[in-house]
Structure formats: structure tokens, C-alpha cells
Symmetry: C2
Subunit: 426 residues, 2 copies
Amino acid sequence: MNPLDIPAYMAHVGVAARAAATAMARAGTREKNLALTELAARLRSHGPQLAQANAQDIAAAEAAGLAAPMVDRLRLTPKVIETVAEGCEQLAAMPDPIGEITGVKRRPTGISVGQMRVPLGVFGMIYESRPNVTIEAASLAIKSGNACVLRGGSEAIHSNLALWKLVQQALVAAGLPAEAVQLVETTDRAAVGRLIAMPEYVDVIIPRGGKGLIERISAEAKVPVIKHLDGNCHTYVDAQVDLAQALVVTDNAKTQKYSPCNATESLLVHEAVAAAFLPRIGALFAAKGVEMRCDAPSRAILAAVPGAQLVDAQESDWSEEYLAPIISIKQVGSLDEAIAHINRYGSHHTDAILTTNHPNAMRFLREVDSASVMVNASTRFADGFEYGLGAEIGISTDKFHARGPVGLEGLTSMKWVVLGQGEIRR
Amino acid sequence: MNPLDIPAYMAHVGVAARAAATAMARAGTREKNLALTELAARLRSHGPQLAQANAQDIAAAEAAGLAAPMVDRLRLTPKVIETVAEGCEQLAAMPDPIGEITGVKRRPTGISVGQMRVPLGVFGMIYESRPNVTIEAASLAIKSGNACVLRGGSEAIHSNLALWKLVQQALVAAGLPAEAVQLVETTDRAAVGRLIAMPEYVDVIIPRGGKGLIERISAEAKVPVIKHLDGNCHTYVDAQVDLAQALVVTDNAKTQKYSPCNATESLLVHEAVAAAFLPRIGALFAAKGVEMRCDAPSRAILAAVPGAQLVDAQESDWSEEYLAPIISIKQVGSLDEAIAHINRYGSHHTDAILTTNHPNAMRFLREVDSASVMVNASTRFADGFEYGLGAEIGISTDKFHARGPVGLEGLTSMKWVVLGQGEIRR
């Protein structure tokens, strides 16, 4: 086969994935767990090989003049490798979701009706930079009994090929088909166009990357897409609040790391505590060089903070995902105003209330229409690993099918099971 | 507003639906149940008014020369009305799915993580003929805390308007917004084009109707579609089987009613019982005028049945949804062959095995990739009412989000809830 014949190559990949999916759906729990522990062991024992492959990508990225944060995303450090190896073991230790039958109830007709969890089939994963995603996707595919076709970024191709080799070895060592996890070996962009338009071979596409990429894939895909657009996350400091705790949590939500989608981008403060809270958080932000884009009332209070970088917020700031040391700040008159603001300007990703008032906490949980809603915790916790999913395949900002961090269950569907003794419909 | 300005009219409907959805998401269980019992009471007490409206549609349909089965689908008989009224009461008696928090687990970091069931928001429903769908959709919307926009067939417009009036009265009597259930009052087809392309107002579209309609809507919709394509359902008679029971169940699956999507369209018989089973089921089918499209081995056996209408099956017969007194019949050599045939030619709707062999029953349940898989029961049971869902909004032949009969849960999503005491991400 001509390696440049992309449609033929992708069809070949698709046929193999579909066949492997049938075998994976039938695979025993023991075999799937063995593949995961074999993979973890191989990740740990192949440090030098992985470092060598990764060095090629890093050197190429630096030679191409990639910005330092982009180069950092490529790095397969021992810590990154240990984290994904632990993720594999955590998945192996989890109950097998497949074949679980729940909610079986006897109906008046005599039949018993319940639901069985089964794999979706084949998922396609399109991602950039971070090569650890290769292992996260592969391990979730194995445990969930799916096959997958992975398309990583061209800048990480050597790292991804090295990781994929270990995945295939682990599958074979466990008696499972190597084709259950396939990596698109070409960096030709046309391969992505094919991957998202083969409903006969691929059941769902999971893109991870910039908003532009995801919007384009969603528009062009011929299969469902589990998509993650932006993360405009809010932290709301309520009128009744433990101020010292609110200070620590708000600081962590914004500054622990600026680039993740679950970092807080907008701070809402109830007017009853604005004068007490804003100068203290403002001083912390000023010390860390965080620019504050303020409405008029919060700016008036923050003006007294030495060294504060204050900017008048524009209407567009309320919708912005900065992914940078910038935060928008607004004073609100009530919980209702806070909820309405979040539902209007937020991206339905993750929003937190900091409060000691129980009814307000419950209303916030119920009424904020976001994938993750939190009480007295940092928005940075919105993550499959932190939620105990073992690993996450992505974060969905849709309401449909899977919402928020997507782990094993998001890669399955529930089919109906009817157990009878010869019943007929009257 | 000019009643012919469809975009303006539909935007008006959409804005009202979105606003009502917010109120419905917050609505108490008591209010939602009251609306349902009020609706049931009104359906029962307004028989004459409903009959009068329905008579207008029936007269128009007969005048237009609609075929008798089509006219029958339009009929709001007392039995149909009693069934939907009972459906409303059954829904009222069911637990409120909204606000349910499940799976809360403490994580090592100290946070507790669980999931809360919430409404999807606004669903659009596009359907034909049967006016009872108006009540089924409205009642499911009310219980699930969603708003909905209903677009019934023009042939049922008077019946639908009369039913809708009762729905709005019931909503208002329960203190809920009348706009939570809206009926598109124009029969202009352009309204459908708008309804499926307003992601700002409508979260999901549920079409019910012919395959052509559903394919067109799926292709053009700008929001997710819960779609039901065809129902090519199989009944497989295994080698070890209670022949008398298999006879009753197979007969029921095919002939109890020919038009529903869950009627069996294809019969697979293990060769070990073909000689014993086929002549008996063939005689039943012959007596009821059911045409049999056979492979060569089954035709050879059925040739001895007096009066049997036998036709040689073509390759296309294995994929056909007849919705008529026709059945395709094939002899298979093994359970594996039966499963492979169903997964290849079936429509992943509903398939049943009739067997006394437990391992075979379990393999069939696990390996047949259909929305409903059954053991020793008639495929005709694949129905939300029969499954205990109270009512069904449709049957999904997709694997994504909702699969098979879609009741309340298919109209909800699960958001993540994090309960902390000031935890931060390290």
C-alpha cells in the first residue's frame, strides 16, 4: 500500500479497529487488567527508550522555535511517565464497567427488564502536544473494552510512536489484539479529515486542543463528537463566608496553574464582603503579577492595593477564557445575580461557590448549569484523575451523553436486557 | 407579529421555551406531579371536546383520501385517551429524577465528588399522525423538568391543539409556566427547518416518523438528535428450546401487530430444530397470510406446509424492515452464525433468543450489539411503557446518550457535584 494514499490507509486502520472492537467487547476482565499492568511495567522499564524518542521531538520543537510552554507540554519527564503508569494501575484496580447489569425489575407482564453496560465500539482521538494523552486514551480504551484510533500532534510523533509500541506489546502480552489501539502513523492532515468521516469504522470522535480545532472538527464530523470548548470558570465568594478559607481557595483556583481549562477566570464577590475580601485577594494577585479586570465597584476597592494591575473590564471580559495571569472581577448584589451572571457568561464548565450558608450552597449546586458545580473547593479539582475516574479522556462541555470529565463510563452505552420465560405482548 | 413570519415566530417560541426551562429546572416535585394529575383529570373530563377536535382531523383525512391505516393512527379513541391519562398518572407516581445525587465518594484530597441529575433544557419534538404523542411528550417534559416545543403533523393539528390546551391548563393549575410546553401552531414546513437549527433555544431534537424524515432532520440539525431509524428485529430459535413456547413467542413477535418497529422481521432457526419448528410456525403464518421469504434450507422444509406463501429470500431481505405480514426466514448452523448475522444485517434495535441453554442466553445478551436484547420474550416488549418508563419519548437506535426506549432519564444529564471544606489543588 502506498503510504501516501490516505483514504486507503485510513480505511485499513478503520477495518482493523472495527474487528479489534468486537474482540475487545468480548475480552475478559482479567485480560484487560493484565494489559494495563503490563503497560505500566513497560512504561517504567523503558525510561531510556522513551527519553530518547522524546528528545528527538524536543530537539525538533526547539529547532523550529516553538515557545517554551509549548515545548514543556511535549516533555515526557519521569514524573509524567510515573503518573500515567499509576493511571494504568488505578484503572486495572477499578471494577470492570462492561457487562454490569443494573436496575433489573420485574414488570407486571412477567418479564424482567434491566440495563447492561457495553462498549461504544471504536473511538477516534485527536490531540496535540502532550504525549501522555496517548497512554491515557489507550488505557481507557482497554479497560472500557473499546478499540481506538489515536491521532497525536506531529510535534510529538516520535514520543507517541515509542509509547504506542509499549501499548501494543502489552496488548499482545495479555492475549488481546494489538490493533485495539492504533496510532495514525502519518502526520498528513488529510488523515484527520478521514478519521472524522468514517461512521462505518468510528463511533465517536474525541478532540483535545484549541477551540478552533474543536469547532472545525465538530462542524465537519460525520459521527458524534465529545467536545470540550472553553473553560470560563467562576469562583463566587458569598456574603457569609470563611474569609481566610476563601482567600486560599480563590488564590489556588486562579494561580496554582494558569493554563488548565479548570483555572478560575472570573471572580464574583458579594457586596457584603467585597470591602473585606477584595483587598486581601488583590494583594495576593498583585504579588503574583495577576492583572485584574474589574467592574467599577471592585476597582474602587482594589485601587487601594499597592502594585495592583487594574484594568476596567469590558463586556467581552465576562466571557473570556484567559489561560493567563489575568482575572475578571465583579461585585454582585445577591446569589441570584451571581447565578444569573454565571449562566449567562460562563461556558458551563466548572463554577464554585465559597459560602458557609447551606441553602445558598444547595441553590448554587442545583441552579448553576455547568458540568461541575462546587462548594468550598478550588475549580482546579475538575479533572478525571481528581474525581477518581482513573484517567480522563477529555472534559465535555456538552450536556449530551457525557458531561464534564469523561472517564470509563463516558466510553460506554447502556443496552436494555429483557429476561423472560416465554412472555408475549397482549 | 405577522403569523407568516416563521423565523420571528419560532424565535419567539424559542425565547419563551428557554425562559420556561429555567423555571421548570427549579420546579418542585409536588408542582410537577400536580400538573400531571391535573392533566390526567382534564383528559378524562374533556372527552367530548377532544372527540370533536379529533373528528375534524378524521373528516379532513378521509376527505383527502388518506389510507385507512393512516386515518386509524389519527384516532383519539377513549382507549387511547385513557392510556395517555394513565401514563401521566404513572409518571406522577414515579420518583422525581431531578436533583438525585448519586455515587458521592470522598477523595484522598478531602473533597466529596458525586453526580446530580438535571434536565437537558429544551427539547424539540417532531412527529406525525398520532396525537397521543402530544401528551406523551408533554408529560415527560413536565416530569423531567424540561421545556419542549412540539411540532405534530398537520393532519392532526385540531386534535393536537385541543390536547395542548389541556396541557397548558394543567401547567397553570400547578403554578408552572404555560410556555413549558409549546405547540407550533403553524403547519408551515419552514417551522421545522427553524426548530432544528436554533441551538440557542433548543438542546436536542427528537423526531418520530418515517426513515426519510429522520435522515433529513439528522443531516440538517444543528443540535443533537435522538433518532430512531429502522427496526429490523430478529427472533432466533436456538438448538435447545421449548418448542411450544417458541411457537407462541415467535407468533406474537411477528403477528400481534405488523406496523410497530419492534415487530420481528426476520426469523433465524438453528438447523437442529428447523425440521421440528419450521412446519409448525409456518402453518401459523400461512393461516394468518404471512408471506415467508426463505433461504433454501428453510424453504425446503416449509414447502410441505399447505397454503404457505413462500418466496426465495434475496440478499436485501435480510436488511428489510417490512412493517407488514412478511417475514424473512433463515436456517443457521450455530449460535455464532446467528449472532454474526444479526450484527451484520440487523438495525441494532431489538433481537431475541429463544433457548433453554443458559450459556447461549448469556452470550446472546452480551454479544448482540442491539439496543434491546431479549431471552425467551417477544420482541414486541421493546417499549418504554412495557419497560416501566411511564411513557417513552422515542426509541433510539444510536449508542450515544440514550439507547432503546427513551423515558425520563434520556431527557436528563448528570452534572458533577463537588463538596469541599476549603480544599485546594496541590
